[in-house]
């Protein structure tokens, strides 16, 4: 891992999160660097997805949840969890790809254009250009260009996931969140998504939750190991996977528990 200049894009500061009374995240502090991939690993229920979903305030959609601490977005130096921040504005800058491909019941074209239309951009020439660009960057343009008006459900699972990536790309995000993006895909589709992620990280900061340790090792620059809502260890991926500081991390990585 070359230590080129790393720019801080966002950081969690002493972040805790509660589902009702239950404390799901315990005082997590973690940096997110620009143009780098940060992976979150840990056993099921350790809070990886919960942590990821704090970044675009998805927890706001459900009642009785609350955050403590901060997630500071740079260069604004603003806490995105603050009441003064509009979660919709946050989601317009931090986009997300889900575990299961979730295209909308619309055509391929309209799926990609969705984020732009929501922002009030309806001019056809702009949409055409953005849709093509996003699909190209998501490595789906060649497969989809002749069937843009087809329903998105007609695509295969891997294509649907790339469509969801294109949809998230079309809005030029500053950070992209991936919540186990390949867990519903076969190995070939997984490989193509991983390859894609490697290309995309030159454009923005990526935070990915994964169950697959090889995937974390392959795609990420930094890795955080979470266990029972706590951040056990955070470091460069290479260090985590070759010489972790903590015994728990080593046990998890070598498959002794989890």
């Amino acid at each position: 891992m070359t230590e080129k200049e790393t720019i801080l894009k966002a950081e969690a500061r002493d972040l805790s999160f509660y589902y009702g009374q239950a404390k799901a995240l315990k005082n997590i502090s973690l940096p997110l660097y620009d143009k780098k991939v940060t992976a979150l690993i840990g056993p099921s229920g350790c809070g990886k997805s919960t942590f990821l979903r704090c970044f675009n305030r998805m927890h706001d959609l459900y009642p009785n949840n609350h955050y403590e601490g901060e997630i500071v977005l740079h260069p604004d130096n603003v806490n995105v969890l603050s009441d003064k921040v509009d979660p919709i504005e946050v989601r317009m800058r931090i986009s997300m790809v889900f575990q299961k491909p979730n295209p909308f019941p619309k055509s391929i074209y309209e799926n990609v254009a969705y984020g732009l239309r929501v922002r009030g951009i309806n001019k056809k020439s702009i949409l055409d250009e953005k849709v093509e660009e996003a699909l190209t960057n998501a490595a789906l343009w060649n497969e989809a260009k002749d069937r843009l008006q087809d329903l998105a459900f007609n695509l295969s699972g891997g294509q649907q996931q790339r469509l969801c990536i294109a949809r998230a790309l079309a809005i030029d995000p500053e950070i992209m969140l991936f919540d186990e993006p390949t867990s519903a895909l076969d190995p070939i589709a997984t490989a193509s998504i991983e390859e894609l992620m490697d290309e995309l990280k030159s454009r923005f900061s990526i935070l990915i939750v994964t169950h697959n340790m090889q995937q974390a090792a392959r795609v990420s620059d930094y890795t955080a190991f979470l266990y029972l809502g706590e951040l056990i260890e955070y470091n460069e991926t290479k260090k985590i996977f070759t010489n972790p500081d903590r015994k728990e991390t080593e046990d998890y990585i070598t498959g002794r528990f989890g």
């Binding site: 989601r91 575990q99 019941p105 969801c164 949809r167």
Partner: protein, 303 residues
């Protein structure tokens, strides 16, 4: 030893029991299908004597319906027009209201609000239709007459409006079920793109639930076409060939009530007209149901 040991032997009793259960279940399903066919058969059979006197062409094109008068005319069109107009008025109320309520309940209301509104709404569908009929006649019509003084005491507008209110819960509850069936991860996808609740509801949830919503509309139409008491009480039972909702008119169903309550001799032409009218009504609802079935098949969303 190639014969199976006793513990693996075929147990006939088990299979006989299974057969009996299967036969019982089949019979239950068969009964409902058989009833439907029996009704159609009787309607057709009993209509035949009428069509021996009146040609099908006259039945469909004559613009007067006076089977009980000396100068008898047998044109079903006035009744069809009455049915269509009251249905259209009802749908103009029920579809927007039902859809808006469904969107509110499914996408905006909190769990608590939803659970308290739904039973009240369903109560609307439980009010006996004759009560709605009198509500239309002695409350809504006078109210409308204040706005439109020349409105007659019996009219299709007031009957249709009240019928629309009656249908609202059918439209809203079926639409709401369809919207709630749209998986949460699709909604989350929309929110994650930065859309508001309203954008998510109208651009993702409603298109996603379209087949179910279409089914709800068709259910509403079928209810409206077949509704009897409200129109019989409030719309006036006069077979007028008009598309003006401010006028009184009879619908197919209200004609059937009117005639069935009278003392027509069995076997007379007037008596047979009920069956022809019933057959027409049945064919109309059949057409709507087929359209609904087709719509929900065509727009079915697979997640």
């Amino acid at each position: 030893m190639n014969t199976p040991s006793n513990r693996l032997a075929y147990k006939p009793l088990r299979h006989i029991k299974e057969r009996i259960i299967e036969a019982g279940l089949f019979l239950a399903a068969f009964m409902s299908v058989a009833t439907t066919f029996a009704i159609v058969a009787i309607l057709v059979y009993e209509s035949i004597p009428l069509f021996k006197v009146v040609s099908l062409w006259t039945f469909l094109t004559d613009t007067q319906w006076t089977p009980l008068f000396d100068d008898a005319h047998y044109g079903i069109m006035p009744l069809v027009a009455g049915t269509m107009v009251t249905t259209a008025v009802a749908l103009a109320v029920a579809i927007p209201m039902g859809t808006i309520i469904a969107i509110y309940l499914s996408e905006f209301a909190s769990h608590k609000v939803r659970e308290s509104i739904k039973p009240v709404l369903e109560l609307l569908g439980a009010v006996p239709t004759v009560v709605y009929g009198y509500f239309a006649l002695i409350f809504v019509t006078p109210l409308l007459q204040k706005l439109m003084p020349e409105l007659s005491g019996f009219n299709m507008l007031s009957a249709g409006l009240v019928m629309g209110i009656m249908i609202v819960p059918y439209v809203s509850s079926v639409s709401e079920d369809a919207m709630r069936a749209v998986p949460m991860h699709i909604r989350e996808g929309s929110y994650a793109m930065g859309s508001t609740r309203f954008q998510t509801a109208t651009r993702v949830v409603v298109p996603g639930a379209f087949s179910g919503i279409a089914a709800a509309y068709i259910l509403g139409i079928s209810r409206a076409v077949g509704e009897t008491m409200i129109v019989a009480v409030a719309a006036g039972m006069q077979p007028n060939f008009t598309l003006n909702p401010l006028e009184p008119a009879a619908t197919i169903s209200s004609y059937i009530v009117q005639v069935a309550l009278g003392d027509l001799p069995h076997g007379s032409i007037g008596y047979q007209t009920i069956f022809a009218a019933g057959l027409t009504l049945m064919l109309m609802t059949l057409v709507f149901n087929v359209i609904g079935y087709w719509l929900s098949r065509k727009f079915r969303e697979v997640y």
